[in-house]
Symmetry: C2
Subunit: 367 residues, 2 copies
């Protein structure tokens, strides 16, 4: 089957680029002695996760128990739930994964509150399992993570004192770094912050085996933080328009596009494609909100300026070429993670021929 | 099971409000002798569609063949694919629905191009079925739909001439009407446009059985268009913040909320909830893009100002009450259709008790 015979819109992955992206990140981490626990949020697929593990990833990172359940079929040595997991039902589900793996999969949860620590310890005892814990530090995104060394140290003490918990170390997410302008200074800030906090934790007598950070926008600079020994990038498997904008990849490193069909040319100067916010999400381009909801690869002068759920409005009045109803076009997504969450399947091509298709098995796992 | 025991985030439907919304629309249409072919895009659920049919809906409207396949289990008398369906594979799938229903379900497709008419006629002949056709007119949204009477009449002639097609009439979508300020004038404009086009079509000797329009934002004013005899509202089953903003419902007519949990309070003045763009979508409020990604019902002074995929950032610095990790909160969505597309299930409550849960079976049916 070739790329022209599937019903549109569909998500096409160039397998050569995809495999190169996996290898480049694996090589970088090996070179700099960084553990790689890639975030599955981008691909949401056990098959893709298996390709990451095969290339040396230490484990898989997820956000929600439902994603952990999907990834647990691989029985990875480590599942990191990099999210403050709150709720008895959710913690019971995580405990069941550990039990069902018969010791093969260890689960670690990153937290930033006493409430979470107490609840996880209770769940661990009730199920007779142990959970690893990473204590989360705010490195500048101001999302989750403790903001003072006092709070951080207090939570480390609580984790050590509670039964069923094992203190694995510290985690942070450098999500405030989206652009490589000033990126070395931003890494120096994080390095100083980590040093200050690690010093306090170690001085209090606690070993810190893991210091976990990393993201795709900042991936090439992770080695600039001396204390960092683990990264959790997600987007790098496919990359997207945001990754290009931030300077962390080139256009030719983008492995995934949406293939869509022109369904109407009734309004002069405009084409309507058969995908809108239900296909691409409504995410705008970081730092350039007026640059459209995706890039039309057939003609960069087109502007994908508006969407409804099933309709993409593309202004083609500045294009060199013309488009007619029935034409297929390729759109590079602004944000591949959220677009992937909207697909049932992905289609992997090599030189235009369909080689493999896979289910986005962890899509829509909100809980 | 009560509303407090499900893993969050989940979508909760108040069944009393939901049933009242269905009944109010059914009564309005009956009173004004309008056919009701509600759009399933909002609920994406055969169970909800069955409740609409039970209250007198003439059929169900969808956008994509995948949605038609899901709704076909009900064997409705009519399935309207209100979307220019382009692609041989998709048309084969629609033909199979007609064949499998053994004459119980008729499928109508709305189109705006000769290309679509020719392709649908070929698919109809190949499968030995007939498709109804609505020719689409641009009523002001400038999305799909023909923009001149000459083009409209030319396409009506083509549809009449092609084998396998039955001309059902005209369709338009008043999606440019999002606010009831000036709504009577907007309806007068549409009435004049329709009259002009209908006159030309009838003068050429063609009967026009159906004139199909209608949307939720404009629903109360549909009877102001004398020629209109069918409406296709979708959002009215649940309503949302956009519907309130537009003046087409009150707060107490909103039947659906997302229930989420506070997972972090580490950053002062802010709470993080366990749902972000993967739960709510990134859609902003129509006409008030800075009014946040949803309304926190517990305290309207909160501002849900930022999202990542799994994190909702809510500024609670102006709130009267305080929030702590583990608290559950209810968020009224900006746009319920896109949020529903992100859920696996919906949960129906009556007076706080879970009465029914159902699968969002047509979610993510992009093709």
């Amino acid at each position: 089957m070739d790329i022209h015979s599937l019903d549109t819109p569909f998500l096409a992955v160039d397998l050569d680029i995809f495999e190169r992206n996996l290898q480049v990140m694996a090589d970088y981490c090996r070179q700099h002695q960084l553990r790689l626990r890639p975030h599955a949020k981008t691909h949401k697929s056990p098959w893709v996760a298996s390709q990451q593990l095969r290339r040396g990833a230490a484990g898989i990172t997820v956000a929600k128990p439902g994603e952990a359940e999907v990834m647990s079929v691989l029985q990875p040595a480590e599942l990191l739930v990099a999210y403050p997991t709150i709720g008895e039902g959710k913690l019971r589900r995580l405990a069941r994964i550990v039990q069902a793996s018969e010791g093969r999969t260890r689960i670690t949860i990153s937290i930033d509150s006493n409430f979470a620590a107490q609840a996880i310890a209770m769940a661990a005892q009730a199920a007779n399992v142990r959970f690893g814990i990473l204590v989360e530090l705010d490195a500048g995104l101001h999302r989750v993570g403790l903001t003072t060394t006092e709070e951080l140290l207090a939570l480390v003490r609580i984790v050590h004192a509670l039964p069923g918990l094992e203190f694995d170390g510290l985690a942070f997410y450098p999500g405030h770094i989206k652009n490589n302008a000033g990126i070395e200074a931003a890494h120096a800030d994080i390095a100083r912050l980590l040093e200050r906090n690690l010093q306090a934790v170690r001085k209090a007598g606690f070993a810190v085996p893991i210091v976990s950070g990393g993201s795709t926008p900042s991936w090439k600079w992770a080695h600039l933080i001396p204390e960092l020994n683990e990264v959790r990038p997600g987007t790098y498997v496919y990359n997207d328009r945001n990754t290009i904008m931030g300077g962390a990849c080139r256009m030719e490193d983008c492995a995934a596009v949406v293939v869509a069909t022109v369904v109407s040319t009734a309004v002069p100067g405009q084409i309507i494609i058969d995908g809108g916010s239900k296909t691409f999400s409504s995410d705008r381009l970081n730092g350039a909100p007026d640059a459209g909801f995706g890039l039309l690869l057939e003609d960069h002068a087109a502007l994908f300026h508006k969407m409804n759920e099933e309709h993409g409005y593309i202004d083609v009045s500045q294009c060199q070429r013309s488009f007619k109803v029935g034409d297929r076009v390729r759109i590079l997504m602004n944000h591949v993670c959220v677009a992937m969450n909207l697909q049932e399947r992905a289609y992997g091509f090599r030189q235009g021929q369909l080689e493999r298709e896979w289910e986005i098995a962890a899509r829509g796992k909100l809980q």
